[in-house]
């Protein structure tokens, strides 16, 4: 290539976080700045008011989580969700639905419910997002096991840079019930959403530039937050969010696919 390659960078115009003990970004920001102590509590998943009534009643935990994250980031950025390209990324799909299907398929009556089947796809939350918001733009749905956040961030930034359009990244994970929980012990639902934009705007909070690195990933100093970072793939974003919360410019290394990690250079607005 003779032309120089573009840098992998975007402006962060909106942020959302839902995690155990961190029901929204405004409380999370205070905790991440050290202004309030972290208090453990189960994740709170708001009812998805944007879905039609029938879908709303049946919405699973993972669908509630992903929709709430996306809508909160759009509200923070003051953008219309219907216009946005999206990148969803998660280690797995709906664990409770998966358990129910596997249990039934192991028995004598294998006539599974059609709704359970279409809700079993990894892109179910993304499909409901489209139905809820009317967004017809490209929608990517990634799985990266523990590397899901980094994989999603890489694709979202590449879309911003190559397409020169804003992209909504929604990284989310949910728990499996037993017996799968013993094999994949994600403790609760949690996730992060970032609205990434190619140009600086009135709502821009920081500029983010990303590059692969071999350096070790940064950890969280508060032990409870460090546990969340380790236990829930989407919360590998916590060191970045900590810097965003403090509006602190600088560099942090995010856990991705060891030995390849991602160095995030944040410039606060």
């Amino acid at each position: 290539m003779t032309t120089p390659l573009p840098s992998l960078a975007a402006w962060i115009d909106g942020v959302a976080l839902i995690a155990p003990g961190l029901p929204d970004w405004s409380l999370a920001r205070a905790v991440l700045r050290g202004e309030q102590p972290y208090q453990p509590a189960p994740s709170e998943l708001p009812a998805p008011s944007v879905l039609p009534p029938a879908e709303r009643r049946r919405a699973s935990r993972v669908v509630k989580l992903a929709l709430a994250l996306g809508l909160a980031a759009c509200a923070d950025a003051q953008v219309d969700a219907a216009t946005l390209a999206t990148v969803f990324t998660a280690s797995g799909a709906d664990g409770h639905n998966c358990h129910a299907l596997c249990e039934q398929l192991a028995g004598d009556d294998r006539q599974i419910s059609p709704t359970r089947f279409h809700n079993s796809v990894h892109n179910a939350a993304a499909g409901y997002w489209g139905i809820a918001t009317g967004a017809t733009a490209p929608c990517q749905v990634i799985a990266g096991f523990d590397a899901s956040f980094g994989a999603g961030l890489l694709d979202a930034l590449a879309q911003v840079v190559t397409g020169q359009v804003p992209v909504l990244l929604i990284a989310y994970d949910s728990e499996y019930p037993q017996p799968l929980h013993a094999k994949r012990d994600t403790p609760d639902c949690a996730g992060v959403a970032l609205l990434l934009s190619p140009q600086r705007g009135a709502r821009s909070q920081a500029r983010l530039q990303l590059a692969p690195t071999g350096e070790a990933a940064q950890t969280c100093t508060v032990p409870a937050l460090e546990n969340l970072r380790r236990q829930i793939p989407a919360l590998r974003a916590l060191p970045l969010l900590q810097q965003l919360a403090a509006q602190r410019s600088g560099r942090c290394v995010l856990d991705y696919l060891p030995p390849m990690q991602l160095a995030a250079e944040l410039t606060a607005c």
């Binding site: 596997c102 398929l105 279409h118 990894h122 733009a137 490209p138 990266g144 096991f145």
Partner: protein, 395 residues
């Protein structure tokens, strides 16, 4: 802006056979690889496209933890057509951290979990100790396996958007090539037979009791298949300028329904137009369309409507799912490689199983293959959740 990518190697393994030659021979001859379902303990009146010999595959010893039908099929697929050697050469050329892995799947190795649920401890309900969720069932497992198989250390992801998964990996890889995080990408898709999809599509009454008949007036459902298909993508350079190039990708969302397409194919139309815009081509530049063509009444009607709206009634088109079955998350990559072979061989594949074309769909649908010097082709892949992707390939 879309930066074109060179396809420097490709391979596919389907029920038609292992590797490009076996598949192309069958496609040229208009043969189908479908057979009545005798998979595992499944009792359904349906036809399937099962790959021969998958369970005889042994994974290389250091990778034994990945052992499951889906990764056995992955390894079998990677060994076709010198593809593995081409990846290793790219690793040598660029370095292991500069080769990315982008693979599509709908169910990965979920069969392993289905089987483990039959062996739960009667007291505790626990799954067997040897059951490994991470390296078999998890959607990322095939990408992790492939990355480890080639000792790569670059970026990797799985895309799981149901039946558009392994078309969308081409878009994701092209973006990383464009921004320079990698110099080469292993893209592709692997999906393998399992109870979830066989009983699941049956529950939606979307499986046919006969071999599927895409675009037929009497079509009544899909035949599920399994496959592994891969391509190696690189930025075009003086040294690799021969062969097939990815000119554009278009992605869209139906925002309509979880398991039914928009009746007029709104999202399909949007994806095809986006692919044309990315390639900078008018519809008339497309010489052949490999349709998604699943053979469900709703899919083919909606897609036919969208294709006719974009291209009119004259562009030759066909679905190859009557030959391979619907390989779900692998279909995008399978059909991209079929398109590449069509471009290289100047032959457009037909549609085994299709008898009487649906008179309500005004397309130039090829029931039988025909010689034609195609230069530019488009391939459609659409999935549950309203996920659509169109690829444009050219020589």
């Amino acid at each position: 802006m879309f930066s074109p990518c060179q396809i420097t190697a490709s391979t596919l393994t389907t029920c038609l056979g292992h590797g490009r030659a076996a598949n192309w021979q069958a496609l040229r001859a208009g043969q189908s690889g479908l057979a009545p379902c005798a998979f595992e303990t499944v009792q359904l009146a349906t036809w399937i496209g099962e790959v021969a010999g998958v369970d005889a595959i042994t994974l290389a010893e250091p990778l034994a933890r990945y052992d499951c039908r889906n990764n056995r099929l992955t390894q079998l697929g990677l060994l076709g057509d010198g593809f593995a050697a081409a990846v290793l050469a790219a690793r040598e050329r660029y370095g292991p951290e500069r080769v990315g892995v982008f693979l599509g799947t709908s169910t990965a190795g979920i069969l392993q979990t289905e089987l483990a649920y039959r062996q739960r401890d009667p007291e505790s309900g626990a799954l067997p100790a040897e059951f490994n969720y991470r390296d078999t069932h998890n959607s990322f497992s095939l990408a992790a396996f492939t990355r480890d198989y080639f000792a790569l250390s670059g970026p990797a992801l799985a895309i799981s958007t149901a039946c558009s998964s392994s078309a969308k990996v081409f878009a994701a890889a092209a973006r990383q090539l464009a921004v320079g995080t990698i110099d080469a990408a292993v893209v592709g898709g692997v999906d393998s037979l399992c109870l979830t999809t066989l009983y699941g599509f049956a529950s939606l009454q979307l499986t046919s009791a006969q071999p599927c008949q895409p675009y037929d007036a009497a079509r009544n459902g899909i035949s599920i298949g399994e496959a592994a298909a891969f391509a190696l993508l690189e930025r075009p350079s003086a040294g690799n300028g021969e062969g097939v190039r990815l000119l554009g990708v278009g992605e869209s969302s139906d925002a309509y329904h979880m398991s039914a397409p928009h009746p007029e194919g709104r999202g399909a139309r949007q994806a095809m137009l986006a692919a044309l815009a990315a390639a900078g081509l008018p519809p008339a530049a497309i010489d052949y369309i490999n349709l998604h063509g699943t053979a469900t009444p709703a899919n083919d009607a909606a897609e036919g409507c969208a294709v006719a709206a974009v291209f009119g009634p004259h562009t030759p088109c066909s679905s190859t799912k009557g030959a391979t079955g619907h390989t779900l998350g692998a279909a995008g990559a399978v059909e991209a490689v079929i398109c590449a072979m069509a471009l290289e061989s100047s032959f457009l594949p037909g549609s085994p199983g299709t008898q009487t074309l649906d008179p309500a769909i005004a397309l130039n649908y090829l029931r039988h293959g025909q010689p034609a010097a195609a230069r530019t082709v488009l391939s459609n892949s659409f999935g549950f959740g309203g996920s659509n992707c169109s690829l444009i390939l050219a020589v």
